[in-house]
């Protein structure tokens, strides 16, 4: 035993106190009552945190108990039905799947023509103009009010240069410019930090699209070369669309879902 382990050395030489085990047992038994007292008496933020922790513990306990009980009960076993299986009295019918497929492609083509895509967030709360822009007073007497500052997250692109300050109407502050987005792959369920290539469409209007404003529901194009996707033809895919799923101005980051 190492020289510094005084406690263990003492225990080895002299053993435990005469009432050590009894005291230990009793102390552990009292823990239950103490915990319930704390749970009842803790107030404020402490109480809330304790309650949350305790709730999680209890839920976990219930689950494990249920699992243990599961093994001891008997249950009727259902055979899984395979996908194409058909009950005996329908065996003679012909399948009509082909037609459906055909009509589906027609529907898709129609949608594409109309310009509607299937996206995770089809409907988004509209953003009012006074929420989007902040009016800046300029001029010697601060009476001119034609400048607007954008209060939402924007993307400007690498080749962006400002217009001369005297003439720029929409100000995109550099603090609110983002270049990267956290993109989640819906099937793989993992998130990557990818560069934004551009803003494709903002549901609030094409003025916002042209300004590069990113709000919730905006379709952006991201650089997916990191993912190593390849087309059936053998070409490397390096840009894909993703839809923004959070409010970037409230969270300080852009979270998006890849549109596969």
């Amino acid at each position: 035993m190492p020289q510094g382990d005084y406690i263990d050395l003492h225990r080895k030489r002299y053993g435990y106190r005469l009432d050590h085990f009894e005291r230990k047992r009793k102390k552990e038994a009292r823990e239950v009552h103490k915990r319930s007292q704390i749970a009842q008496k803790a107030l404020g933020i402490k109480g809330k945190m304790f309650a949350k922790k305790r709730y999680a513990e209890k839920a976990q306990m219930k689950k494990t108990l249920a699992m243990h009980e599961e093994s001891s009960t008997r249950r009727k076993v259902d055979d899984d039905v395979s996908k194409g299986a058909v009950p005996a009295y329908l065996l003679d019918r012909e399948n009509t799947t082909r037609a459906k497929v055909l009509s589906n492609t027609i529907k898709q083509k129609r949608k594409e023509k109309a310009g509607k895509w299937e996206v995770p967030l089809p409907k988004v709360r509209p953003v009012a103009e006074d929420e989007m822009f902040k009016v800046l007073r300029t001029g010697k007497r601060k009476t001119k009010q034609w400048k607007r500052m954008i209060t939402k997250a924007t993307f400007v692109g690498p080749a962006f240069t400002r217009k001369p300050p005297k003439y720029e109407r929409f100000i995109r502050p550099s603090g609110l410019r983002f270049t990267k987005a956290h993109v989640t792959h819906p099937e793989l369920k993992c998130t990557f930090n990818l560069d934004i290539i551009g803003v494709k469409k903002n549901p609030n209007g094409q003025m916002y699209t042209s300004l590069g404003v990113m709000t919730r529901g905006t379709i952006i194009e991201v650089n997916v070369s990191e993912l190593g996707l390849v087309t059936p033809a053998g070409k490397v895919v390096w840009g894909k669309y993703a839809q923004v799923t959070n409010n970037p101005e409230n969270d300080g980051c852009i979270n998006a879902v890849l549109l596969v």
């Binding site: 190492p2 020289q3 510094g4 933020i45 409230n250 969270d251």
Partner: protein, 671 residues
């Protein structure tokens, strides 16, 4: 900087606790109340403060962790290697590196979000940004939690490492497992190392301290080393190898010549030769242990040859130090830890050689020259050939000789014990030296209760003497009581004397009674001084009566007393009286007469400016002035209705009329 004490590293909290600590501290130490209606800059500042505060706290705590854990490159190579052997340098560095990265990430997050908060235009938005910032910082810590747990374990282990000073005098003990290294260290130091019959009892380095020639030496006990290729060695062996490699110490290589450790001398010699490269520049001593089982001379030829080979190797180190080739005193020693035969000799030899080596090195170094020219040992020059040995008085020599003889002669209890079978067999008779009247009573058992009394209450070695003293005291007291009863009978006195005695006694008792009455009334009532004596007891007539009762003539005494109590003629203005006498009309003579007669019938007081000798005034003008000043000072107080100088009572501290009311114009800042 050399740091060999790792006990001061602060505790590293685990991930969850860390987050809880920091967040609860932010919640407690920053303002908590904010409303929607506040100015936007105030809202922003409120949330920015929280973000910055959290970041600062994380930064501080992570910085302490990074700073307190030792850098393996900055500490003594012995400790660097030891920590590498125990914890793996790479893991350790990685963990610390991760903590460093986490710290930088948190700083960046805070900076970004503080910048974003400047654009927050509503309470909700600022609040969301703050929540996002704190959440991200805590996620960084959550990711780094395994490193924190690992560092905490390392810290706990490091704190328990024995504190070995790599630079001081050290004696290192090495050899095969089970040869008796730990028993040796137990014998010469106070370190209590476990000694067990199985191999690899010692699993880590142990330190003990011992003294030699007024200097303190560290003795390090190492775990046993087996003869294996270097790469195959396990952690425990690597500890010993590290110690051997880095510490400049005297090495004691232990050899078990009886073979009871389970390894032959050949195997041990093989080990010796495989690690002899580590013994470079170190004073090496071969110690043959367990000589009680097998003396050195009884060894076989081959074994003897191996031992001699080892000795030859050890001699090389002596030569290397600059010693003589023939000086083989401290190179090969025998001892037995069981019988303690030769243990001290081994220790002394090792310490001596180490000391010599260190002194040599110090002499050769450059630093010694600073000290050396400051030393000068002065020896008085001999002026003639006469021998002058130290002078010890004869009495001291004799006493010393006697003491030595006594020591040899006297048989101690311990010797008796050893003779009669040892510690468990013989029990010393504690009653052997009792001093009793009859020697046969020595071994008797003393009863505790006899006739219903505790025997111990009655035991006292001086009891007879005490009894005598008591009786003497009794006799004395009785005699005193007899004396006290003695009184004057009154038979020897004459009748006149008797009468006088009776009167004196009566008077005395009367006086006593009166005094007693006076005393009792004096407690309840103030004592009235004589001049206000209302009962008029003390008149001259009474005095006259009492004196004549005694048979004395009271008239002169009365006259004297009366003359004192009568007032003098009162002269208001002594000069005017004479002058006005001429101008006065018919009434004046009567006036004068009246004045004179009044001066006798009434008690006279002094005129107000009259000088009384004891008061300390120069003349009556000064007295009058003093009186005037006194009156002037008390006038003001009287107007304020104060009872005296010390009366500082304020009946109302805050009278309402002074502390309330509006002003018609102006401010009410001051009242």
């Amino acid at each position: 900087m050399v740091q060999y004490n790792f006990k001061n590293i602060t505790v590293v909290p685990n991930g969850k606790d860390f987050i809880d600590i920091i967040l609860s501290r932010t919640q407690r130490q920053t303002p908590t109340v904010v409303h929607k209606g506040y100015a936007i800059s105030r809202l922003r500042q409120f949330y920015m403060r929280k973000v910055k505060y959290t970041q600062t706290n994380y930064y501080d705590k992570l910085s302490t962790i990074i700073d307190e854990f030792p850098r393996l490159d900055d500490i003594h190579p012995f400790y660097g290697d030891l920590l590498h052997v125990l914890y793996n340098k790479d893991h350790y560095k990685l963990a610390l590196g991760q903590i460093n990265t986490a710290r930088n990430l948190i700083s960046k997050i805070a900076k970004d979000y503080v910048r974003l908060l400047k654009y927050g235009d509503s309470l909700y938005r600022c609040k969301c940004l703050k929540v996002a910032a704190l959440g991200r910082m805590c996620t960084v810590i959550k990711r780094v939690a395994p490193s924190l747990a690992y560092l905490e374990q390392i810290r706990q282990h490091m704190a328990r490492l024995p504190s070995i000073d790599p630079n001081t005098r050290t004696v290192l003990i090495c050899g095969y497992p089970n040869v008796g290294k730990s028993s040796f260290i137990n014998k010469i130091t106070r370190a209590d190392v476990d000694v067990q019959p199985y191999a690899f009892t010692t699993k880590s380095l142990f330190v003990g301290h011992t003294d030699y020639k007024y200097l303190r030496y560290q003795v390090i006990d190492t775990p046993g080393i087996l003869d294996r290729p270097f790469e195959d060695r396990n952690i425990i062996e690597m500890c010993s190898i590290t110690a051997l490699a880095h510490l400049r110490a005297a090495v004691l290589f232990f050899l078990d010549i009886s073979g009871s450790c389970g390894y032959t001398i050949a195997q041990q010699a093989a080990l010796f030769h495989s690690i002899k490269s580590l013994f470079m520049n170190k004073p090496l001593t071969i110690v043959c242990n367990k000589t009680d089982l097998q003396p050195l001379e009884g060894l076989s030829e081959e074994d003897m040859k191996l031992v001699m080979e080892m000795k030859a190797e050890a001699m090389k180190t002596v030569i290397g130090q600059g010693g003589e080739p023939t000086d083989d005193q401290g190179v090969l020693l025998t001892m037995s830890t069981l019988t303690e035969d030769g243990v001290i000799a081994v220790k002394n030899a090792a310490c001596e050689r180490l000391l010599d080596q260190r002194v040599e090195i110090k002499m050769k170094s450059k630093k010694i020259n600073d000290c050396l020219n400051r030393f000068h040992v002065a020896i008085p020059k001999p002026r003639d050939q006469k021998e002058r040995p130290p002078c010890i008085p004869q009495a001291v020599l004799e006493a010393k000789a006697k003491q030595a003889a006594e020591k040899e002669k006297r048989k101690t209890e311990k010797d008796l014990e050893n003779e009669n079978g040892g510690a468990g067999v013989y029990s010393a008779s504690l009653k052997k030296n009792y001093i009793l009247a009859n020697d046969e009573w020595k071994e008797d058992v003393l009863p505790e209760i006899l006739d219903g009394h505790n025997v111990y209450d009655f035991i006292d070695p001086d009891i007879l003497q005490r009894l005598e003293e008591l009786e003497q005291e009794e006799g004395l007291r009785q005699a005193e009581e007899v004396d006290d009863d003695f009184e004057m009978d009154g038979k020897e006195l004459t009748p006149e004397e008797q009468q006088a005695l009776a009167e004196i006694r009566k008077k005395k008792s009367l006086l006593i009674q009166q005094h007693r009455i006076k005393k009792s009334t004096a407690e309840s009532r103030p004592i009235v001084p004589r001049k206000f004596d209302k009962d008029k007891q003390f008149t001259t007539r009474r005095m006259g009566r009492q004196l004549s009762a005694l048979g004395l003539d009271p008239s002169k005494a009365i006259d004297r007393a009366r003359s004192r109590s009568r007032g003098r003629k009162r002269e208001r203005s002594p000069a005017n009286d004479g002058g006005d006498a001429m101008d006065m009309d018919v009434d004046t003579p009567n006036k004068r007469l009246r004045m004179r007669s009044r001066s006798r019938s009434r008690s006279v007081s002094r005129p107000p400016g009259e000088l009384v000798p004891g008061e300390g005034f120069r003349d009556s003008a000064q007295k009058v002035k003093a009186q005037k000043l006194a009156k002037k000072s008390s006038k003001k107080r009287n107007k304020d209705a104060r009872r005296g100088e010390a009366d500082r009572v304020i009946p109302t501290l805050k009278p309402k009329h002074l502390f309330s009311g509006k002003r018609s114009s102006g401010k009410t800042d001051r009242r």
